[in-house]
Symmetry: C2
């Protein structure tokens, strides 16, 4: 049976599929589908196949669990990176954000989420045991905890800290402080307080 609104089942299916994406409503979905209808069939086939291949062929790096086309990702397999430094992040977007700063030359460890009892995510759902294992292998001298500054992030940080504190490595976390470009009067008091306690030598801030 064809719906009253759509003149075609194929059109309706495509709109329904697009509308499942987050932030895409039915009006936008229809607009996108009608745009695709005007494109070259070969172009649309490339689009469709790129999604199918993405989902079926993408791998997770055996070492850091970042997504990758190969068994070991191009960061872990890069010989010019510092293998003794591991930055722990929540997901692949955080890896991309840190890579874009061009300030970090170590490796990563992607947890795949953070501990969040409300969402039913506990330590066993995350790549924490594999991090402990990596540290136990003995080549790592420092682990940088780079999780969100939320309650869940802090909980995860603390859980990892407890797991790693017996290992003979440095455990650090990202500096908290006033964002560059922020006006002091609009900075929240916790951040401002932390930036006072952890104030840095002025000369160091110039070199930065």
């Amino acid at each position: 049976m064809i719906s009253e609104k759509f003149p075609s089942r194929l059109l309706e299916n495509a709109v329904n599929e697009f509308a499942k994406l987050p932030g895409i409503g039915r009006k936008t979905a229809l607009r996108l589908v009608l745009h695709l209808l005007k494109q070259d069939p070969a172009e649309v086939e490339i689009f469709g196949n790129s999604l199918i291949r993405l989902r079926n062929e993408i791998k997770h790096c055996r070492v850091c669990h970042n997504i990758s086309d190969t068994d070991i990702c191009n960061i872990c397999s890069n010989p010019s990176r510092n293998e003794s430094l591991v930055c722990v992040v929540e997901n692949i977007k955080d890896v991309m954000a840190i890579e874009n700063t061009h300030q970090y030359n170590g490796l990563y460890h992607v947890l795949g989420g953070i501990i969040s009892p409300m969402d039913g995510i506990g330590p066993s759902n995350l790549e924490i045991d594999s991090l402990v294992q990596r540290v136990a292998e003995g080549n790592i001298s420092e682990v940088i905890l780079a999780l969100s500054t939320t309650m869940e992030g802090d909980t995860t940080n603390f859980y990892i800290y407890k797991k790693l504190r017996t290992a003979n490595i440095k455990i650090s976390t990202l500096a908290r402080g006033v964002s560059i470009g922020d006006e002091l009067e609009y900075t929240d008091e916790v951040t401002l307080g932390r930036s006072l306690v952890n104030r840095t030598n002025f000369e160091d801030s110039i070199i930065q």
Copy 2:
């Protein structure tokens, strides 16, 4: 060569493809692709295939040029619709908008655009000859011109009118007037002027 920003070529391809869609930037594209990565592979395959099938299998109705799964669309093939009435529209979205009013029981003729010399679209690029042909076959008593009230729409209306005026049929156009819910003081003067000239009997407006 893998781009510096993306840890995976497959990911980058999918993001590039999404970012080609109108109104989807690279940040949104990445968000959508990472969402798909979390979905079931079978679900993503259904999504990808729905787009490929849409583009490859969809047809245009032989009679009205609306998009359709079959040679003749479900509106043209519906015996309960009034075959002597044809509403001329620009595209399939207009068909859907008119269908949603539940006020029209005739057939359609989808031009596939409007005359727009700026965009290089002339009468020969549109389904105007096939409309003249449909009228010449003699079963149509009225053609309703339902194009946008823009300069291009008016040009197209007039072109079609000139082509059809020798045929012994009624040629009508959508009523222009104050939109329902509009405040008079914010209505543009052309619309307000037209609604005065074409004022309707009050009793008719109640029945509407």
